[in-house]
C-alpha cells in the first residue's frame, strides 16, 4: 500500500525534472564559452552592494529608534513593509551572487580538461544548503519573524559584507589573480 504514494512521488519528480530541464535546455542562453571569459572581478559577490545605500539608511533608522527608545521608551516600528522590501532585495542580491559564482564554476568545470569529483560534489551540496537557507530566510521575512534587535544585527552583517567586498575589490588590483584574467582572455 505504501508503494503507491512512493512511486507516484518518484514519477511526479521525474516528470517535473524532465519538463524543467527541457524548458531550460530550449531557452536561449549565453554560451558556456562566453561565460568562461567573464572578468575575474566577477568572482567577488557584489549584487547586494547595489542596495548599500538602502541598507545604510535602514541601519541609521534602526540606530535612531534604538537611541530614542532608550531615552523615552518610544515606539518601535519593527519590520515595516518598506524594511521588508529592503531586506528582500539584500537576500535576492546574496542569492544572485551565489548563483552567478556557482554558474561560473560550472562553466569552468565544463571546459576543464580535468575535474575533481570531490570538489564538484561539495559545491553541489553547498548549493542545496544555500537554497535551503535562502528559502528559510525568505520565509522568515514573509512571516515577519524578525524583531528589532535581529534587524539591527542583519544590517550590521550587511555592513560588514560591504566593507569586506570593498577591501577585496581594492586588494584585487594588486593580487596574484591578475594572471588569471589574461588566461581567460579579458
Amino acid at each position: 500500500m505504501t508503494e503507491l504514494p512512493v512511486f507516484l512521488i518518484i514519477f511526479t519528480v521525474l516528470i517535473v525534472l524532465v519538463v524543467w530541464v527541457t524548458l531550460n535546455q530550449l531557452a536561449p542562453r549565453r554560451s558556456a564559452e562566453k561565460d568562461a571569459c567573464l572578468p575575474i572581478d566577477l568572482l567577488l559577490p557584489t549584487a547586494y552592494l547595489e542596495n548599500s545605500s538602502e541598507i545604510e539608511r535602514l541601519t541609521a533608522e534602526l540606530e535612531q529608534e534604538r537611541t530614542q527608545n532608550a531615552a523615552s521608551e518610544g515606539f518601535r516600528k519593527g519590520l515595516t513593509p518598506a524594511r521588508r522590501r529592503t531586506l528582500k532585495k539584500l537576500l535576492v542580491g546574496l542569492k544572485e551572487d551565489f548563483s552567478r559564482l556557482d554558474r561560473l564554476m560550472c562553466t569552468v568545470a565544463a571546459l576543464a580538461p580535468e575535474v575533481e569529483g570531490r570538489q564538484e560534489m561539495q559545491r553541489f551540496w553547498l548549493w542545496i544548503r544555500f537554497r535551503l537557507h535562502y528559502s528559510l530566510a525568505r520565509l522568515s521575512l514573509m512571516v515577519g519573524r524578525f524583531s528589532q534587535p535581529e534587524l539591527t544585527s542583519i544590517c550590521k552583517l550587511f555592513d560588514r559584507l560591504t566593507l569586506r567586498t570593498q577591501v577585496e575589490l581594492e586588494a584585487l588590483e594588486h593580487s596574484s589573480l591578475r594572471p588569471l584574467r589574461s588566461k581567460l582572455g579579458t
Partner: protein, 259 residues
C-alpha cells in the same frame, strides 16, 4: 482470445507513428549521428509488425506469442539502455574532465537502482512471471533515473545539447517513467476497475513517438566544433577561490536566518 477494438485501434495508430518516425530517421540519415537510436527505432518498428502477425497467427494468449513478446521486450530494453549511453556520450564527448565526474555519478545512480531491482526480484523468487515483471519495471526505472540525472547534470553544467537528442532523451524518460508506474502499480491497482487502463501504456509510447517525430521534423544542424578547453591549472585556481566565496556566502545567509 483476440485483441479488443480499442487495442486494435491503438496498435494501428502506433504503427502509423512508427512508420512516420522511421521515414524521418531515414530521411535525416540519423544513423550518422545516433546509430544506436536508429537501431532502436527500426528494431521497434519490426517488433511491432512481427508481434501483430504473431497475434493474428497464434492468438493473443498463446505460449508462442508470450515467449515472442518477452524475448523482444528484453532486446528492446537492452537497445533502450544503449541509447541512454549514446546520448550521454554525445553530450559529454567534448568535455573530458566533466565526463569522468558525470560517469561516476551516473554509474552510482544506476548501480543503486539496479541493487533495488535485484532485491525486488529476489522478493518474488517463487513467481517467475513476477520476477520478469519486477525486473522489467526496475530496469525501466534505471533508464528513467539515468536519463533524468543525465539531463540534470547537463543542465547544471550548461552543456549545450542539440534539440533532437535532448527531446529524444525526454521522450524516452517519459515513456520509461510511465512504464514503471503502469507495471508496478497502476495496472494491478486500477485494472480491475478500469479495463482501458491496459491501453495507457500504448498511449504513453505514442506520446514518446510524437515527441521524437517533433524532434526530427527539422533538418539536424551541423555539428558544432569542440570547444577550446581551458589551460590545466585554471580549474584548480578557480575551484579554490570560488569554493571559499561560496562558503562565505552560505555562512552569511545562515547568519541572516539565525541573527
Amino acid at each position: 482470445m483476440h485483441l479488443t477494438a480499442s487495442a486494435n485501434a491503438l496498435w494501428t495508430l502506433t504503427f502509423i507513428f512508427e512508420v512516420v518516425l522511421c521515414a524521418f530517421v531515414i530521411h535525416r540519415r540519423l544513423w550518422r549521428r545516433l546509430p544506436l537510436f536508429t537501431t532502436y527505432v527500426l528494431f521497434k518498428f519490426f517488433v511491432t509488425a512481427a508481434l501483430w502477425l504473431v497475434y493474428k497467427r497464434f492468438s493473443y494468449d498463446s505460449d508462442f506469442a508470450r515467449y515472442f513478446y518477452w524475448s523482444t521486450q528484453s532486446l528492446l530494453l537492452v537497445t533502450r539502455g544503449s541509447v541512454c549511453v549514446e546520448l550521454c556520450l554525445l553530450a559529454f564527448k567534448n568535455r573530458p574532465g566533466l565526463w569522468v565526474h558525470a560517469q561516476r555519478v551516473l554509474n552510482s545512480v544506476t548501480a543503486v537502482v539496479l541493487v533495488y531491482v535485484v532485491i525486488d526480484a529476489y522478493r518474488q523468487a517463487y513467481f517467475a512471471t513476477k520476477i520478469i515483471l519486477s525486473s522489467e519495471s526496475g530496469l525501466e526505472l534505471s533508464v528513467a533515473i539515468l536519463l533524468a540525472s543525465f539531463l540534470l547534470i547537463a543542465s547544471r553544467y550548461r552543456i549545450p545539447i542539440e534539440r533532437a537528442p535532448s527531446l529524444i532523451a525526454v521522450g524516452m524518460c517519459m515513456h520509461s517513467s510511465f512504464k514503471v508506474l503502469n507495471t508496478s502499480l497502476l495496472k494491478p491497482w486500477l485494472d480491475p476497475h478500469f479495463s482501458w487502463w491496459n491501453n495507457a501504456q500504448a498511449i504513453s509510447f505514442q506520446v514518446a513517438l510524437v515527441i521524437w517525430i517533433f524532434a526530427l521534423r527539422r533538418p539536424l544542424p551541423e555539428t558544432k566544433p569542440a570547444p577550446t578547453l581551458l589551460p590545466m591549472g585554471v580549474y584548480q585556481s578557480y575551484a579554490r577561490l570560488v569554493g571559499q566565496r561560496l562558503k562565505d556566502l552560505d555562512r552569511d545567509i545562515q547568519e541572516v536566518t539565525k541573527p
